[in-house]
């Protein structure tokens, strides 16, 4: 039988059996609307509030500072649009973010740009880190909000969030972070780390898809993105995704139980796999190792195109991801890899492997065995590789 190795945990994760168990009653018998007054409704409401308490506890927030959303993208849209549009009325029409954010942030700010906002995109170092000094220098009197991702989704670089938050607070500017990737991988304390708003997603932490949350510090006035009923304390309308929310609460509680141990186990697998991959000729690691997500590997193989590499991995049962243009629907390679200075021809040959809780050392051995075979096969038919090798022989 063909072996399947799921190594794309930054894309999504397998649902935890515990989270699924917690959800099941709300997908079957406990179908009451949390807004209903009778006991079936009250039971559902209680479950939503219990999940809220769990999410808040996991990030050091107060329960009433957590709002459930449809996912990370909605949380990003809401945090940025909901504060920027309000502050614009006070003359604050400047937003700071980084060049390598997720599209949920980049496309949100570009839509605000059309509304008349001015956007500053902070550059990142070749290892994929934001320099807090750059944020400091970019802040103006009319800056409304700073949004810097907690950890990059492609290269796994973890940003100096506390420092950036402190800088923003000193200048009285709101600080938002997209922590969709970081959640469960690093210990987050929104209060200690000076975070005003933070986006989260359930399906990256072994919860279900279609649910996420926005942490919004008490006292911040956030304009609604979705108007309607009085759910989420009248801040976000729509009947609650009860089962999804319960699953999120269960999953975040489980994953945040012991982050250091979890990170240690996953990074040990990652380090072994990375060492094996780096034995291949003409391969480079993208992103620094110092502050990196425990399961993240991002490498570029010269002379090989990323999509064909992914397809061959898939033929061998391995699920991974690429920064290649061909996987994104456009012809441009990953904006993240270009942002850290990779030439397009190298960025096309990149591979992201993201290990998680359900991976094993056997998976690492299997991937380690398959990658060199595939690279050899693709390079043997690559005119670019032929040119690279000839260039060497000159």
């Amino acid at each position: 039988m063909k072996r399947t190795v799921y190594a794309d945990n930054s894309a999504t994760t397998k649902i935890s059996p515990k989270a699924l168990d917690a959800m099941m009653p709300y997908l079957t018998e406990e179908y009451g609307n949390p807004s209903s007054i009778y006991s079936k409704g009250r039971e559902a409401k209680k479950a939503v509030e219990e999940a809220r308490r769990k999410v808040a506890k996991a990030i050091g927030a107060e329960t009433n500072e957590v709002y459930f959303t449809s996912g990370g993208s909605e949380a990003d849209n809401w945090a940025i649009k909901g504060t920027a549009r309000r502050l614009a009325k006070k003359g604050k029409k400047h937003i700071i973010t980084t060049v390598f954010e997720h599209h949920a942030v980049l496309h949100t700010v570009s839509s605000l740009e059309k509304e008349g906002f001015e956007i500053t995109y902070i550059k990142v170092s070749k290892d994929g880190y934001v320099d807090p000094e750059d944020v400091k220098n970019a802040i103006r009197d009319d800056t409304a909000i700073v949004s810097v991702m907690y950890a990059n989704n492609e290269i796994g670089s973890i940003q100096p969030i506390s420092e950036i938050g402190a800088i923003c607070h000193k200048r009285g500017v709101l600080f938002h972070t997209d922590a969709v990737q970081a959640l469960g991988n690093v210990e987050i304390d929104v209060k200690k780390q000076n975070i005003d708003m933070m986006s989260m997603s359930a399906h990256k932490v072994h919860g279900p898809k279609g649910v996420g949350a926005l942490y919004c510090r008490k006292g911040i006035i956030l304009q609604n993105l979705i108007d309607g009923g009085a759910q989420e304390r009248s801040k976000r309308a729509g009947t609650e995704n009860t089962a999804g929310i319960v699953g999120f609460g269960s999953a975040i509680e489980e994953i945040c139980e012991n982050i250091p141990e979890r990170a240690k186990r996953i990074s040990q697998m990652r380090d072994k796999l990375l060492a094996n991959i780096l034995k291949i000729d003409r391969v480079r690691l993208n992103g620094g190792m110092e502050n990196r997500m425990p399961g993240n590997i991002n490498v570029s193989f010269e002379g090989v195109e990323g999509e064909s590499l992914l397809l061959w991995l898939d033929l061998n049962g391995i699920c991974a991801s690429s920064g290649s243009a061909c996987t994104s629907g456009s012809l441009d390679p990953s904006h993240v890899l270009l942002a850290i200075g990779l030439p397009a021809e190298i960025a096309h040959g990149s591979l992201r492997i993201s290990l998680g809780d359900y991976n094993t050392m056997e998976d690492v051995d299997y991937i380690s065995e398959k990658i060199p075979e595939i690279i050899t096969r693709l390079r043997a038919m690559s005119p670019l590789w032929e040119r690279i090798v000839k260039g060497e022989n000159k």
Partner: protein, 147 residues
């Protein structure tokens, strides 16, 4: 997203390699855009007796190269001149919209090899093949690929 036919040609590409002393060699695409196709043809009595290719590119790039070589092998050069990207797409049971440019590249690779062949025969290729389009005809990237 890919048809079974595309996956079949991708995982088991026909005519991969090089031809020593080829009668025509064509190379199209570039590394910045993420696709390079190099095609070699052997011609005897106006018949393409052998064809080989090497491709750096995505699944569709490899599959279209493979299919294009199969479609011109054993054919006369006059027939090969007529090979269109559309015919390659049809033979592969379709391509996703974002991958149409790969089939264009495969057609151009064949034409580039033929062009080289004609040139070597002392025939002006433009009179037969017309002007070769190059990168400016490419549909979609924002990169400056230097052509």
């Amino acid at each position: 997203m890919y048809s079974d036919k595309v996956m079949e040609h991708f995982s088991n590409p026909r005519n991969v390699g090089e031809i020593e002393n080829a009668d025509g060699i064509g190379e199209v695409g570039n590394a910045v855009c993420g696709d390079i196709m190099k095609m070699y043809i052997k011609v005897e009595n106006n018949i393409i007796t052998d064809v080989k290719f090497k491709t750096f590119g995505c699944g569709a790039a490899i599959a279209t190269s493979s299919m294009a070589t199969e479609m011109i092998k054993g054919k006369s050069i006059d027939e090969a001149v007529k090979l269109s990207n559309k015919a390659v797409i049809e033979a592969l049971d379709g391509l996703p919209p974002a991958k149409i440019h790969c089939s264009v590249l495969a057609e151009e690779a064949v034409k580039a090899a033929l062009s080289d062949y004609y040139t070597k025969q002392g025939i002006d290729p433009v009179s037969i093949l017309g002007e070769q389009k190059g990168c400016s005809s490419c549909s979609g990237c924002n990169l400056n690929c230097g052509e």
